[in-house]
């Protein structure tokens, strides 16, 4: 420090610092030029500089951070409609065409199978589902999936024989409705199927006898 005054900086020391930084800046510029040369060399060989920069960025990341990054991006991509299927499905779909991968998936899923009697895992690939079930001894067994029973929307065709529909005419249906009401049986026990002209007759008979509309007790 000089002794000219308390607030006067030491010009020589300051100049020293400035010169050191300027020298470093020059070196940085030289290095950057070198880097450009390497990129240009690679480009001349046909490598995409953009992808190289991306790889360099990825290589600099911790592997775990990179995985998280990728997974998060895949989810976002899927959410905004850019990806056709979720990442897991993409993997599964790949498995569908590759038996080796399919076996790998089944092998990998084995470790997730719950203990004996606690549940099972069904893996569907190439349209043929298999069940992974843990046995009493703790080993995982691969079983076929049984096809569910065919579905039938018509209640009459399941167990209940058609003969339950009484053989009566319109007036008979009306009388039957009244009988049901007297017997305190609910209106929805109407034995005539949908579309049968006797169904409304039964309903009308029931309402006539009951005095209500079949929708529960009425006021007054």
């Amino acid at each position: 420090m000089t002794t000219l005054g308390k607030n006067t900086p030491d010009a020589a020391a300051l100049t020293g610092y400035l010169e050191r930084i300027e020298k470093l800046n020059g070196e940085i510029k030289d290095l950057q030029d070198d880097r450009k040369v390497v990129y240009a060399e690679a480009k001349a060989q046909g490598y995409s500089n953009r992808q190289m920069r991306r790889l360099i960025r990825v290589r600099a990341m911790k592997p775990h951070d990179h995985q998280e990054d990728e997974a998060e991006f895949a989810v976002y991509e899927h959410a905004v409609g850019l990806a056709v299927e979720p990442p897991l499905l993409r993997f599964m779909a790949k498995a569908g065409h590759d038996t080796a991968v399919r076996d790998q998936v089944i092998e990998a899923m084995k470790s997730f199978v719950p203990p004996y009697g606690k549940g099972e895992i069904t893996v569907t690939m190439e349209g043929t589902p298999v069940r992974l079930v843990r046995t009493k001894t703790g080993e995982v067994e691969i079983k076929d999936v049984e096809k569910p029973l065919p579905f039938s929307p018509a209640p009459a065709s399941k167990g209940k024989p058609k003969a339950e529909v009484p053989d009566v005419d319109d007036d008979g249906a009306y009388a039957l409705g009244r009988q049901y009401a007297r017997d305190n049986r609910p209106i929805i026990e109407n034995p005539f199927p949908f579309g049968d002209g006797r169904r409304p007759r039964f309903d009308a008979g029931w309402r006539k006898e009951n005095g209500g509309d079949g929708m529960g007790p009425s006021e007054g």
Binding site: F151, I188, P200, E219
Partner: protein, 319 residues
């Protein structure tokens, strides 16, 4: 998840919701106006042949609007049972999909499948989730929504079967879709008379004499049928399980416990019983232990409750 498009089996109908059979239906408990409108609609459906002869068609699409727990599903199920049709309860989450175009395709699949499997009554619960108002699209998701609402509109228009939609938010439903429904019914909270009937029904095999029943129904003003059912079923659970596990089964303690565990939605107002708990006059008049429905003696004087637990509250004049 992407739906299977190649499969055409009728069982796929169950991919879209549950199928309720007519025999499983319960009696709805409704106000006078609503039941009149419904009976009229039923008669109209049954007179289809006559209407067609006169170049008219019966109305086949209805929309029910009402607060949660007012019995929209029960009512739709009752109608399906009156008609003798199974009811397909369509779940909105089975229709709405995250992939572009999938929701519209699911809607198409649903209507195709219903057409294939023969007559059912289609019931679309939480309809506002699917038939949401269309708006100018600012981004992809909104465009997608507009497109599926268009699909839904067209499919409803073409659909020849019975369709009932239910919503808690009628104002969220697209106006053009709303117009495609010919019957609009608003379900109100039950009145005093309906509350008494609801209590009676759910209390079985237990019951209450007239006066305590009237008071209890009074104390539950603004309660939805679902809330009343929860209350009564909790009471019954207490009566059944309580003695086995040694709960405190004195009347006021039991009621307080139940009321503390079941709360109405804050938006719907608190019925008096929930504000006053066991201190309510309705509870003071409640015979205890609760009598069985077939043992109620209407001539007996109402039992008086222990005075130290009763806070007097002016009961409403009988209606």
């Amino acid at each position: 998840m992407a739906r299977r498009h190649q499969s055409s089996d009728a069982e796929d109908l169950l991919d879209f919701g549950d199928l309720l059979q007519p025999s499983e239906a319960a009696e709805p408990i409704l106000g006078k106006g609503v039941r009149g409108a419904l009976l009229e609609w039923l008669e109209e459906i049954w007179a289809e042949a006559e209407l067609i002869a006169a170049n008219l068609k019966p109305r086949k699409r209805a929309i029910f609007d009402g607060k949660p727990g007012t019995g929209k599903t029960t009512l739709a199920h009752h109608l399906s049972a009156r008609l003798g049709l199974p009811m397909l309860v369509v779940r909105p989450e089975r229709l709405i999909d995250s992939f572009v175009g999938s929701t519209g395709r699911n809607i198409g699949d649903l209507f195709d499948m219903v057409a294939k499997t023969g007559p059912v009554l289609m019931f679309m619960d939480e309809f506002d989730a699917v038939a949401i108002k269309r708006k100018a699209a600012n981004h992809g998701a909104e465009e997608e929504r507009n497109s599926w609402v268009n699909t839904l509109l067209q499919r409803i228009e073409q659909y020849d079967g019975y369709l009932i939609a239910a919503t808690n938010f009628a104002s969220h439903v697209d106006p053009a879709i709303w117009r495609r429904f010919d019957v609009h019914i608003t379900l109100e909270l039950p009145g005093h008379f309906e509350r008494e009937r609801i209590l009676e029904r759910y209390l079985k095999p237990w019951g209450l004499p007239k006066q305590p029943l009237r008071l209890l129904a009074d104390s539950m003003e603004t309660a939805s049928p679902a809330l009343m059912r929860q209350f009564v079923e909790a009471l019954k659970r207490n009566l059944i399980i309580g003695p086995k596990v040694g709960w405190d089964l004195r009347r006021d303690q039991t009621i307080d416990r139940i009321v503390a565990g079941i709360q109405p939605h804050p938006e719907f107002g608190k019925p008096r019983l929930w504000s006053r708990g066991a201190a309510d006059a309705a509870i003071a008049a409640m015979p205890w232990p609760l009598p069985k429905a077939d043992e109620i003696d209407e001539t007996a004087a109402p039992p008086s409750a222990p005075a130290d637990t009763v806070v007097p509250f002016p009961a409403k004049a009988s209606g």
